[in-house]
Symmetry: C2
Subunit: 327 residues, 2 copies
């Protein structure tokens, strides 16, 4: 049974995981959907009530029924590198590839539908609340009056995008910023705006969860930190990430979150306040983990490799393919 990794060519995080898979002797096929058709080829046959499908990449042929797991890392858009690329060819290639893989019975990290749902921040906040994680008071609105009233109740606010990165090419991260006390909220009417009570934090927490494994890292806020530097991704300073313990109640809530979200992988960001409370900021279903692993020495790549290497679907599971050659 093979592990399939969908990612672009230059992906050192995927390289780290492949090293572990290779060391344990688990077969791996790594390909970029951008190379379909071309460097990547596929074929699937539906005859007499059963399916037999194959992928080919770099001369290797793998049966779709022989996939134990699929890691959706940083895949390119299907057909993006085809000689005559077009929106139509991307749509055809995407449906062909993911349509076959969706019927495969392999375990996903993460399933495309779960991944898509998990990107919705309003949904994340609701789920986090439901699972018992503390969420800083938040408003998402296009009503200027609602924003004004919220700012009266919570005078110390930050503003951040509702969605993630700005859809440029390459995408650009939009920093979380503090809201000035005298802000005029009229412009809220022109686009949904996310306002959140600023947590006076003493540390940032990155909790990486891989299946059942939880690996938390903590980056203390420098004593002389500028209170306007709310976004750890853009904050100056050289305080390192250090391994941290996960409080049992947080662990339980996070487990419930990922189960309900149907995610095998999630990178949670929390702000730790002066009482040691972890405030939920977001869960990124495709969050980077390389920087945490490098600074803390935590074996995240190995945990990912181990999850991917677990046995695939049971014999007799949904797809009853065999490793026959049809191409």
């Amino acid at each position: 049974m093979t592990v399939l990794i969908l990612t672009c060519e230059e992906d050192v995080t995927a390289d780290m995981v492949v090293v572990h898979l290779n060391a344990s002797g688990v077969p791996v096929v790594r390909l970029d959907p951008a190379d379909l058709p071309g460097g990547v080829a596929l074929s699937g046959e539906y005859v007499h009530g059963s399916f037999r499908g194959h992928l080919q990449s770099a001369g290797r042929l793998v049966s779709i029924a022989g996939l134990r797991s699929i890691w959706v890392r940083r895949p390119g858009a299907p057909a993006a590198r085809a000689p005559q690329s077009s929106a139509w060819l991307t749509e055809e290639s995407s449906q062909a590839l993911y349509g076959m893989l969706r019927g495969s019975g392999a375990r996903w990290m993460n399933h495309p539908d779960a991944a898509r749902q998990a990107r919705h921040k309003p949904w994340q906040l609701r789920l986090a609340q439901d699972c018992g994680l503390p969420v800083p008071a938040t408003l998402i609105t296009t009503f200027p009056q609602a924003a004004r009233e919220f700012a009266e109740r919570y005078p110390d606010l930050v503003v951040k995008p509702v969605s993630g990165a700005h859809p440029q090419d390459p995408p650009r991260a939009v920093p979380t910023s503090r809201v000035a006390p005298d802000t005029d909220f009229s412009a809220v009417a022109f686009g949904p705006t996310l306002l959140q009570r600023r947590v006076a934090k003493r540390a940032d927490i990155r909790l990486t969860v891989v299946g059942e494994r939880m690996l938390a890292a903590r980056k203390a806020t420098a004593a002389d930190a500028d209170p306007d530097a709310v976004d750890v991704r853009f904050a100056p300073g050289d305080v390192p990430w250090r391994p941290a313990e996960v409080p049992p109640r947080v662990a339980e809530a996070v487990r419930s979150y990922l189960t309900r979200a149907q995610l095998a992988y999630g990178a949670f960001d929390f702000a730790e306040d002066a009482d040691g409370m972890w405030w939920f900021l977001e869960c990124n279903q495709s969050g980077q983990f390389g920087f945490v692993e490098v600074e803390t020495g935590q074996p995240i790549a190995r945990a990912v490799a181990e999850w991917l290497a677990q046995p695939g679907p049971e014999p007799g599971a949904r797809v009853d393919d065999a490793d026959a050659s049809v191409c």
Copy 2:
């Protein structure tokens, strides 16, 4: 409890359903996400572990917790009609709107994730096989040699797109066509190609399923029909659609299909052969039904209205909002 309909302004099919909902006194809010922000406004507040959200359209304010069901008909892209529209504003507005609705607890026809999955034809074919529906022998491939071998085994083939309509503006339906006997399959390498054994049909079947209700229509193939006119959408002739009985085994398989696909609505296309066998061609999760209702008199719009009008989530369900005014 209110029914929310997401669709564009000119949608006579939605009009038909609204007539029935109005007649039964069920509150309805109909809006186009293209008008957010602008004609449509939203606000959602996450405070003390609970969520209170509202939508406003045409001067009406509706609580998100007060939604019993959401019908995703033909919605425009969020922010498409905003004064300063952009990809970024569409992304922000989409995440805000659908992110709140996804956490609402309302019943969906159809849930966006189920709808997206259901569009993948390779996945449809696999699921139909699994549910016991007869599927004509099908090949989806980028291997010219696989196409040649398939055409030797099944000399009478049709070719159709793997995905649905061509992504033009407006989208264009791509007809299913017969494959000539002397076809050179070399070009298959340049894009995934779907080849399928042609069913020598004596009728087309459209089976519209709304929740538990099944409404089948049959359009007999004219005795003098051109065998090259395989696609009923483009076939000439004036044979009407007529109501038909659903064979019990088909009904059972279709029920299983929709349950596993998590769809509340599906429009199945079958080809009926000379033995009366219904061959699965596809299931369109957003298939039009107006033309069937008009020709057969079957009460499809009423069935949709009745499904949407069913009571919403139980009190105490996931979202514990009240109909309070925050805006």
